[in-house]
C-alpha cells in the first residue's frame, strides 16, 4: 500500500504536470491517423499519468479518480466499443471492421465514415489499454491488500 509521500517537490511537479500529460495522451489517441501513435500508445501514456499520481500523491487520491472497480468496467466498455463497431459493420453488410459501410448510418461520405470509424476504434483500444494497465499497477502496488480492507481500517 502506497501512502502519500512527504516529498514536496515531486508532489508539486506531479500536480502541475498531470493535466497536461492527460491532454497529451488524449491528443495522441485522437490524432492517431495523422501522426504516430494511436490507441495503444495513448492508453499507455494515460496509464503512466495515473502511475505518476499514485506514486507521488498516494493511492487514496488516485482511487478517487480511478478505482479498481471503475477500471474493470472501463476495460469492458473499451472492448465493447471496439467489438461493437466491428459488429456494426458486419450488420450493415460489410466485413468485420469495414468502416466504409458506416456511411449509411452516419449520413456522411465513405471516406469520412472511415475516419470516424478508426477514431471510435482507437478510443475503445485506448480505454481498454488504460484500464488494464491501471489494474496491473494497482495489483502490483497493493500486494495482497484489497481496497475493502483499506476502507475498514479507515
Amino acid at each position: 500500500m502506497i501512502r502519500e509521500s512527504d516529498d514536496v517537490i515531486v508532489k508539486a511537479v506531479a500536480r502541475l504536470l498531470m493535466p497536461f500529460i492527460v491532454v497529451y495522451a488524449l491528443y495522441v489517441v485522437m490524432h492517431g491517423h495523422y501522426s504516430p501513435g494511436g490507441g495503444f500508445q495513448g492508453g499507455v501514456i494515460l496509464a503512466a499519468s495515473f502511475v505518476l499520481l499514485g506514486v507521488s500523491h498516494g493511492l487514496g487520491k488516485t482511487r478517487r479518480r480511478m478505482s479498481e472497480k471503475v477500471a474493470g468496467v472501463i476495460s469492458s466498455i473499451g472492448v465493447l466499443i471496439y467489438g461493437g463497431i466491428g459488429a456494426l459493420c458486419l450488420i450493415l453488410g460489410g466485413n468485420y471492421l469495414h468502416y466504409g459501410k458506416l456511411s449509411k448510418l452516419l449520413h456522411v461520405t465513405p471516406a469520412e465514415a472511415r475516419s470516424l470509424g478508426i477514431l471510435g476504434v482507437e478510443i475503445g483500444v485506448a480505454l481498454a489499454v488504460m484500464a488494464v494497465m491501471c489494474t496491473v499497477f494497482f495489483a502490483i502496488f497493493t500486494v495482497g491488500e484489497s481496497p475493502e480492507d483499506d476502507r475498514s481500517v479507515e
Partner: protein, 239 residues
C-alpha cells in the same frame, strides 16, 4: 484555640489551592482553545480547510473553467488543426480532463496576487539563466582539470517558505545554480549537497531564498541553522 486556628488556616489554604487549580484548569482550557484556533487559522491560511456550500462550489467552478482554458490552449498548440471537428473534440477532451483534475492545477493558490507573481517570476528567469551559465562554466572547469578541486559537504538550512510552489522554485534553482544540489526537504529543512566550502557559504548568504520569497511575496530568509558534516546529518536523519 490553637487547634481551631490551625484548622481554619488549613481550610483557607485548601480553598486557595482549589481556586488556584480551577484557575489553572481554566487557563489550560484557554490555552488548548488558543492552540486549536491557531492551528485552524494556519490550516486556513494554507488553503487546506475546505470551504462549505456555495462558496466551495463556486471555487470549484472557477478552477474548472481556468483549467479548461489553459488545457484548451495547450491542445491547440499540440493539434495544429483548426477545423470545427477537431476543435470540438479538443473542447470535449479538455472539459473531461478539467472535470477529473480540477483540484490539481490551482491548489494552494492565493487569490488576487497572480499577476504580480507572474511578472516577478518572469523577471526572475534572466537571473536564473545567468546562474545556470555560471554553473555550467563551473562544471566544465571542474571536469577538465586533472586533479578536481572538490571538497563536498552537506549543508542544512531552514526555510520560511510556505507554499509548495515556492519550495519547488527554490529547490530547482538550488539544483541549477553552481555547485549545489537539493538532496532532501524535511519539514521545511533543506539538505543541500555542495561541492566546496565556497559554494556553501554563498548559499548560506540566503540571496536566492530572498529572491524566491520576493517572487511569491512570503517571509524572508530567516537564519542559517548549522553547517554540519555529512556523518552527523546522516545520524540525525536516521534517528
Amino acid at each position: 484555640m490553637e487547634v481551631t486556628l490551625l484548622l481554619e488556616t488549613t481550610e483557607n489554604a485548601f480553598r486557595v489551592l482549589e481556586q488556584a487549580r480551577e484557575h489553572a484548569t481554566g487557563l489550560l482550557d484557554t490555552a488548548v482553545q488558543f492552540t486549536a484556533e491557531e492551528t485552524r487559522f494556519r490550516e486556513e491560511k494554507r488553503g487546506q480547510i475546505l470551504f462549505t456550500g456555495a462558496q466551495r462550489r463556486r471555487t470549484q467552478f472557477q478552477n474548472f473553467v481556468g483549467t479548461t482554458i489553459i488545457l484548451f490552449a495547450f491542445w491547440m498548440l499540440l493539434s495544429g488543426k483548426f477545423d470545427a471537428f477537431h476543435l470540438t473534440l479538443g473542447a470535449i477532451c479538455c472539459a473531461l480532463v478539467a472535470y477529473l483534475f480540477h483540484d490539481l492545477l490551482f491548489a494552494n493558490v492565493r487569490v488576487g496576487d497572480m499577476r504580480v507573481v507572474a511578472a516577478r517570476f518572469i523577471a526572475y528567469i534572466p537571473w536564473l539563466i545567468q546562474q545556470i551559465l555560471l554553473a555550467n562554466i563551473h562544471v566544465v572547469s571542474l571536469v577538465v582539470r586533472r586533479r578536481m578541486p572538490i571538497d563536498p559537504r552537506v549543508v542544512k538550512f531552514k526555510t520560511k517558505l510556505e507554499t509548495d510552489i515556492s519550495c519547488v522554485t527554490l529547490a530547482n534553482s538550488i539544483t541549477l545554480t553552481p555547485g549545489t544540489i537539493t538532496m532532501d526537504i524535511k519539514d521545511g529543512v533543506f539538505y543541500v549537497h555542495a561541492v566546496s566550502q565556497k559554494v556553501a557559504d554563498e548559499l548560506n548568504a540566503g540571496d536566492m531564498e530572498d529572491r524566491v520569497a520576493h517572487i511569491f511575496m512570503e517571509a524572508d530568509h530567516l537564519y542559517v541553522e548549522d553547517v554540519l558534516d555529512a556523518a552527523r546529518i546522516y545520524q540525525t536523519l536516521r534517528v
